[in-house]
Amino acid sequence: MFDVRIQLILFWVSVGFCFLGTVFFIVSLSFKREGLVKYGVLSSLLAFPPMTAALIFRWVQTGHVPSIGMYEVFTIYACGVLLFFLIAQALKPSVRIAGTVVLPTIMLMTGIGIMSSTELTELPKTYFTYWLGIHMLFATLALGGILISAGLAVIYLVKGGQEARGMLNPLLAKLPPLNRLDYLGYRFSLFAFIMIGIMIASGAVWAYKSWGRYWGWDPIETWSLISWLAYGAYLHLRVMGIKGKTAAWLHMAVIALVIFSFFGAPYLYPTIHDRFVDGTGL
């Protein structure tokens, strides 16, 4: 019942729906078919149950929250981001179009996860703490906020560019005005900033309980700090009056940095976060 094969089938079903949703979103933008956006949202909604079921099966199979190795980490992040997107678009329908960026990213993350090793690994003693769940939860929320704000920043730049050329896509024209998109992006980046902060703080408490120090300059810790500082600088620059296109490009640069911290940095260094990416270490 909880076999890896069943999990993989469920994940592939999910990837299928994400792919379908991505097609709907892209076609709706490219061919000015506004009606397809709702099918994009429906596909993302359909992608959620099989992904959640697969993760629950993995949880039952391993006896711990999926959090070890690329298979578990990428899929749980993908599921969290998907849930975050579904809630965000239900509360604020204007962010639906961000699915153009969010959904392919979820598909990519799930794909990377299920292409990785599904081997069971024993959880190290230092992971037997609820701080792991808290840390992962806020990392997922941060990622959700970052991806939606990335989607909004991309839409802002595309819409801004088209407006400047005087040839606006009718679908984009129906989206909120540029200043509203800018504001929404700002709110989601503020949300991501808070979530990264809580993720770092919960990691610090966990590290203190495990190793007697709240900060060890572990490369992943350090990259998280750099991301947080970059977000802090970006938000202060906004307070100083930087907005519009400059702010959107700056925001994209910060997002790239954060994405690297999440998914690039763990491959550059042997760190105490190794368990997250290859299930070894410690």
């Binding site: 902060g197 190793w211 350090t222 500082l229 202060h236 307070v239 105490i272």
Partner: protein
């Protein structure tokens, strides 16, 4: 007045958001360069035992940048709060911002305290032997800080729990902590579980064996009794070696090397090299090599009760005992940092709820 305008200029610079952004970017840039260079020298084992890699964070100029940011944040927060109070414009957004920045100030102060006063150490306890720990010395970077209070630690017993394949699943160390004002309190600690004493945080971080030796001089006169902790080297897959190289005893002119086997066996039934059949004490054996000024004297593997001759002396292997090493951390910055985290998280949540577009 030119003096006043200079002071006003300095104050305006110190409290400016531009200065804050500049400092944040400078710190971020310094940390980024450091973390890129870190790839060459990073050892995750250092951090997992509580240590820190050498890096820019220990440099005075980096700490000065953090201090400048602390001053800037304090000035910004105080100025903003004062302006709001004067204008009677205290709202939730302003309050959230003030609490968030106050939290950051406390965190920065805590990190500076940690950076300058955190002390890391190790305490090795051999089963059955009491050890007096000089509290003042172990909690200070100044090693010459004598005087009380002292406390004592005894590793009463080390208990090994094996899994179904016979490999070590968990090691528990029953540790008794006492001082002159306290009755001894006993705690059984698994790896990474902590015992604290007046802000000093101690947790088992590694394990091994110590061998007890009796040394007899000419005519079987007792020359000394020693307990020598072996060093534990791990080779992965649960394979460990217990050894001590180039060990010198005060009363003997020789250099000793020891290799300890908790459960001695041979690779195959008809001989082969010596191996450890398990990590638990079963059939202990001690390989002793004796050297005199670099020249090999003798080498022998002995069991408890057996001895090896070195010149006119005889070294008797009495027994083997387990040891537990505690990693100790004394960090006066921890409480401010966690208090600051609470403040800043509360503040930023309020700020986010009441934020408006700019």
């Amino acid at each position: 007045m030119p003096g006043k305008s200079v002071l006003t200029g300095i104050w305006n610079t110190v409290k400016s958001i531009k200065a804050a952004v500049t400092l944040i970017l400078l710190i971020a840039a310094a940390v980024t360069v450091d973390v890129l260079l870190l790839a060459k020298r990073w050892d995750p084992d250092i951090t997992s035992t509580g240590g820190l890699p050498a890096g820019i964070h220990s440099n005075r100029w980096f700490q000065a940048l953090v201090l400048l940011l602390l001053v800037n944040l304090s000035a910004c927060t105080a100025d903003s709060l004062a302006r709001r109070l004067r204008a009677r414009k205290i709202n939730m957004r302003g309050l959230g911002s003030a609490v968030f920045h106050a939290g950051l100030i406390i965190i920065l102060a805590g990190t500076l305290l940690s950076g300058n006063f955190r002390v890391l150490g190790t305490i090795k306890l051999v089963q059955g032997e009491a050890k007096q720990i000089p509290y003042r010395e172990i909690t200070s970077r100044d090693a010459a800080r004598p005087g009380g209070p002292h406390f004592s630690l005894i590793l009463k017993e080390q208990r090994v729990e094996n899994d179904e394949w016979g490999d070590i699943k968990e090691i528990y160390s029953a540790i008794v902590l006492s001082d002159s004002s306290l009755a001894g309190s006993e705690q059984e600690l698994a790896e990474q579980e902590k015992v604290t004493y007046r802000g000093l945080y101690m947790f088992p971080s590694s394990y091994g064996y110590a061998v007890s030796l009796d040394v007899e001089g000419p005519g079987e006169t007792p020359a000394g009794r020693l307990s020598i902790p072996m060093e534990t080297t791990e080779y992965g897959e649960g394979i460990k070696a217990y050894h001590r190289d180039s060990f010198k005893m005060d009363f003997l002119p020789y250099n000793f090397s020891f290799k300890f086997y908790p459960d001695l066996g041979q690779e195959s039934a008809d001989g082969g090299r010596l191996i450890n059949r398990s990590q638990a004490l079963g059939n202990p054996g001690l390989l002793i090599s004796v050297q005199d000024k670099g020249n090999y004297v003798t080498e022998k593997i002995i069991r408890p009760g057996e001895s090896i001759a070195a010149g006119d002396y005889r070294v008797v292997f009495r027994a083997a005992k387990p040891w537990t090493q505690l990693s100790s951390v004394y960090d006066p910055g921890v409480k401010p940092v966690f208090a600051g985290i609470l403040f800043s998280m509360t503040g930023i949540s309020v700020l986010a709820l009441y934020s408006k577009p700019n």
